[in-house]
Amino acid sequence: MSLTDRSATELTSLLASGELSSVELTRAYLDRIAAHDEAVKAFVHVDAEGALARAKEIDARRARGETIGRLGGLPVAVKDLLCTRGELTTCASRMLARFKPPYDATVVARLKAADAVIVGKTNMDEFAMGSSSENSAVQQTCNPWDLSRVPGGSSGGSAACVSADLAPLALGSDTGGSVRQPAGLCGVVGLKPTYGRVSRYGLIAFASSLDQIGPLARTAEDAALMMEVIAGRDPHDATSVDLPVPAYTESISRPLEGLRLGLAREHFGEGLDAEVETAVREAIKVYESLGAKVSEVSLPHAKYAVATYYIIAPSEASSNLARYDGVHYGHRADEKATAVELAAERKALEAAGDEQGLKQLDAPIVRMYRQSRAEGFGPEVKRRIMLGTYALSAGYYDAYYLKALKVRRLIRQDYDAAFEQVDLIAGPVTPTTAIRIGEKADDPLAMYLDDIYTVSANLAGVGGISVPCGFSQSGMPIGLQLQAPPFEEDRLLRAAHMYQQETDWHRRRPTL
């Protein structure tokens, strides 16, 4: 067994006992990245030098007998929308191609305080908008199980790097499924914590009422380790909740007695691929064999979740992304060229005596905003900004945004009612396994509909986890999704761990 085959939990204990140095381990991962990332393209930046220097420093502190943090020199990867002080943080966008944040995101600061070694930043759909990593302005990350297929998204780079053993742990963010969906499609564990469990400070915002940072790992046990490091109240994020963080890694090996598992009938209807359904139902049988009681529940508004999500998320995005104006930071269009073009337009309108046209002509600063944003944002980001701006505009606010907020309440009430009957809701993560690169690139609505099983958790604010539960005939991973009442991450992790003790899907590796 090579070093990079081991779980994060095993590696941290080898590091803690001194059997393994952080430099040795970091070098092993950097070598693997050098050998395979040209094909997988999971990383947008790899900081080999910085990582080795950091590993060396941690090893030296350990040698001096100093107290070392929880991750003790373990390499980790971080999605490129989490601010890393002084290091490029691009959101896979031209808009932020040269952005170096002046501060660390709270989760990054906590990783550093726990003595993690950040090896690099991972690729994603631009500004986390997408489900395939095809919307990255930097590169297309490939699914390690079949390089012609997408890794999912938006945390596609984080899922692919864990799946390909390029890092033992990674951080992603989940606004409508962006941790769970790529985890499912790449055959790894992905946890979306309850809204408020993990600080969003320094997470470049997409939809602030839905965004939540979560771990991607091989095993539930490793995800538990990462959660212990990142979870908890943060004064910098007023929406982070002041609840004690359970010792997830301690409780994880305690099986859930008398577990009541609910299957939502809405999760097994039309559109669900037969192979995915079979694998998910087999996984549920494993729980039954462990003593779980399975029953049917209903989430009657589930079918409205995608429509609700694609009002709320773009609305919040259009507001959040208004900050990219070419003034304070981010891309600014060439001012001279923009001014020259504007002057020529004015001249032509004057020559034609077009009073109306002249009245509508952009002021110089407005043209600078519009041109900078036109050049800085990719097509999907523009689409969502446009949708959100439309939904929030005068005359449409009640029909779209306010309506969506009301349906959001109904979706949450469905969950509250279901969780009176069951402890967890089990179902698929995605309707199908990973699609081919380009397969749905021209059909945004078709792509949005694939988020059907994941967006509800974000709207309701509950936690969810994706656990590998099988493979299709063509060898693509399938994920099982478990969802829990708010702040029951412990239950999600323990349930996932129970399953992983009985199955070996998570031990399989793609051939690279």
């Binding site: 003034v327 923009t338 009301k406």
Partner: protein, 96 residues
Amino acid sequence: MSLSRDDVQKVSLLARLRLSDEELDSLTSQMGRVLNYIEQLSELDTDGVEPMAHAVDVSNVFRDDAVRPSHDRSEILANCPRHDEEFYLVPPVLGD
């Protein structure tokens, strides 16, 4: 509610985006399809339902009104496309 190219043009100004003719065309049809899909929400009776803006009910979170060090100006301006060490510089806001 059907969406016209003119509507999309107007929204692009509100959104401070400059769109090409091709983008206006494709967005008109793509946004139209998405809005058409979203239309299904109208079949739900939501009278009397309290809108849910946030997943966690947090009311005001107070902190002491204490002076604390902030970021260094030069550190912030380092990411600015054009500045004079003190101010952000932009094209003319008033007049030509």
